[in-house]
Amino acid sequence: MRKDRRLHWLLLAPALILMAVMLYYPMFGTVYESFHETSFLSPDPKFAGLALYRRIVADRTFAEVVVNSIVWTFGVVLLQNILGFLTALLLNQNLPMQGVLRAIVLLPFILPGVVAAILWRFMYDPQLGLVNSLLLQTGLIENSVAWLADSRMAMASVIVAAVWKGFPFSMLIYLAALQNVDQSQIEAATLDGAGPTRRLLDVTLPAIRDVIVVNVVLTLILTFNYFDIIWVLTRGGPQSATHIFPTKIYETGFGQFRFGEAATYGVFSILVLAVLVALYAIVQGRANRRRGVA
């Protein structure tokens, strides 16, 4: 028994050491820096207590970043999961050329984030972009829209780009879950006279409930931390209209050399992520227990 435990720790050790060095050390370093005035100009950290926190919270940009992060995260997660689920439902049917269809749908997910963002930058171009061209041709708009330059439109525009990039991820997970739904239950429901909607609501959704919850929480974490698309499309602009935590941290740290303040933004970000990760652990634990009971 003791030998087994030793072996467990021995096998875990490389991963734990790697995590400690690559993850926890920088994370605690960030927390430490957030209580110290430190920048490229004054690299020796000077203890500042909560001064940086007070300064950041008093800055109106902080409130904008918080609101933007909420809108961005929930907007992307909601749309990405709805679109991913609907696509999975469609691809779960016995359609011809199913393999090809799945490959096509997966394409945005395979593209690197920066490439996807550049693609959308071209598509959103006010003068030459595909989006305006299509909308003008179909008469849905009368004048070109500056999708990324108008602070009222910019957040919605980056959300659409992110949903396009991310929905295949959700789709993949939902498709795998749908393929594991007990077919005999669906057949039984059909024999009892249940239509497609009733079968979906009463059989399929309850059967994949755990997967939906885990998927939503997982995409919440990934989306909150997403950087590439917004940075390439708008750099958080116009003004601060699309600044979220990761873009603000990057701009403050690497764009302005203010490491202490960047770390403080980082700590806020870590706190949100900690809550989301805890949520994920709880949800996953419950799902595992339910499966164990079943």
Partner: protein, 405 residues
């Protein structure tokens, strides 16, 4: 037997000789960035080979980093204690690197080597001076902006290109040219330094300042606010989406004939020369009777304080800014004035116009906190391009700038 003994002794002596050269040889890490696909790195490699031939005791290892990653890579290297020996620094970074103690004071070496302001463009030299000390040697320069124009569009509208040099002339031309789906002038206001340098040039040309002589913000002074108001009026004749547009975004519109006038540095010429477009340019824009004042851009060569081989590094810098070398190793314009003259004659259209604009250009404020200062300016430009009150936008920017210590 005798012959083999002799051979062994000779080979031993040769090996000893080689190892003694190797022991004395120092290796310098030189970092540079690449802004364009100009094939510059090959030319630079040849120059570095030449330097190593002239100085067999010094080996140069060149690292070329793409421009978008360069600042972050350099910053991370300095913070991590892995700075190179020599690097090109953007003019606007020198203040911060000097204040942080990351780069060496070159005042004495420059004096001893007779490298002086007169050898270089004044604004470029000034961009390396902080507190009376010199922290870099100008390597390459350019000036924002030249007003490039589409000759066919101007001819069709019967506009004299010379009129683009004045505030009134440019506005009248932009208004006239904005018709039939075409745009008069390409303004850009994204979160990037090109937004700042063009805006500064209009402020400078109108007699305004970003910082006053005492270091306080000068953007609320009348000449600066007038220039901002002028830019706001000009924006009516620009393609939509200014707040997310860069100078690069305007290129496609200019090249396909949808845009009549665009603001770029001289570096844009090679791209335009490759196109079929009939184009010309004038040096910036100023009020009637005043000379347009451009904003300097460019890079300085700096030696890092952490370098154990500062003397060798200094030798390399002297070589790179030499009249017969400087023109071969830059893709902007050589900072050495004599090299610049030859370079412009060979590579650019209307070299005298460019030289005159360079001589008259001003450097951006040399502040250790320039990047934050520029962010405040970008917010100001975005506000005026979005239709905000120029005086109020300038006041907000000054509040942020004056709060920087």
């Amino acid at each position: 037997m005798k012959r083999s003994l002799l051979t062994a002794v000779t080979m031993g002596a040769m090996l000893l000789g080689t190892s003694s050269v190797l022991a004395q040889q120092v290796t310098l890490q030189f970092w540079d960035n690449q802004q364009t696909e100009s094939g510059l790195s090959d030319v630079q490699k040849a120059a570095v080979e030449r330097f190593m031939k002239e100085n067999p005791d010094i080996k140069i290892e060149v690292t070329t980093v793409p421009y978008p990653e360069y600042q972050q890579r350099l910053l991370t290297a300095v913070q991590g204690g892995n700075a190179p020996d020599i690097a090109t620094l953007d003019q606007i970074w020198v203040g911060a690197f000097a204040k942080a103690g990351a780069v060496a004071d070159l005042t004495e070496q420059a004096g001893a080597a007779a490298l002086a302001r007169d050898n270089f463009f004044g604004g470029a030299w000034d961009s390396a001076v902080l507190g009376g000390k010199l922290y870099g040697i100008p390597f390459n320069v350019d000036v924002w902006q030249f007003s490039y124009y589409n000759k066919a569009l101007l001819d069709a509208a019967k506009i004299d290109p010379a009129s683009l040099s004045t505030f009134d002339g440019l506005k009248a031309a932009a208004e006239k040219l904005t018709t039939n789906g075409k745009f008069g002038v390409g303004l850009f206001g994204h979160k990037g330094e090109d937004t700042v340098v063009v805006g500064d040039s209009f402020i400078f040309s109108n007699g305004g300042k970003v910082l006053n002589d005492d270091g306080s913000c000068g953007l609320t002074e009348a000449p600066a606010v007038e220039a901002l108001t002028y830019l706001q009026q000009l924006s009516k004749f620009a393609p939509g989406g200014i707040l997310n547009a860069s100078s690069g975004d305007m290129r496609e519109l200019f090249l396909n004939g949808s845009l009549a006038i665009e603001f770029w540095p001289a570096l844009e010429q090679p791209t335009l020369q490759k196109s079929k477009l009939d184009w010309g340019f004038v040096s910036g824009t100023a009020p009637e009777g005043k000379t347009p004042v451009g904003t300097f851009g460019g890079w300085n060569l700096a030696i890092f304080e952490s370098s154990p081989n500062k003397d060798a590094a200094w030798k390399f810098i002297q070589f790179m800014v030499r009249e017969d070398v400087n023109g071969d190793v830059v893709d902007l314009i050589p900072a050495n004035k004599k090299a610049a003259t030859a370079f412009l004659e060979k590579n650019r259209k209307d070299p005298k116009v460019i030289m005159a604009h360079l001589e008259n250009a001003k450097a951006r404020p040399l502040s250790p906190r320039y990047l934050e200062l520029a962010d405040a300016q970008i917010a100001m430009f975005q506000e005026i391009y979005a239709g905000g009150d120029p005086a109020a936008a300038a006041a907000k920017a000054c509040e942020a700038i004056n709060a920087l210590d």
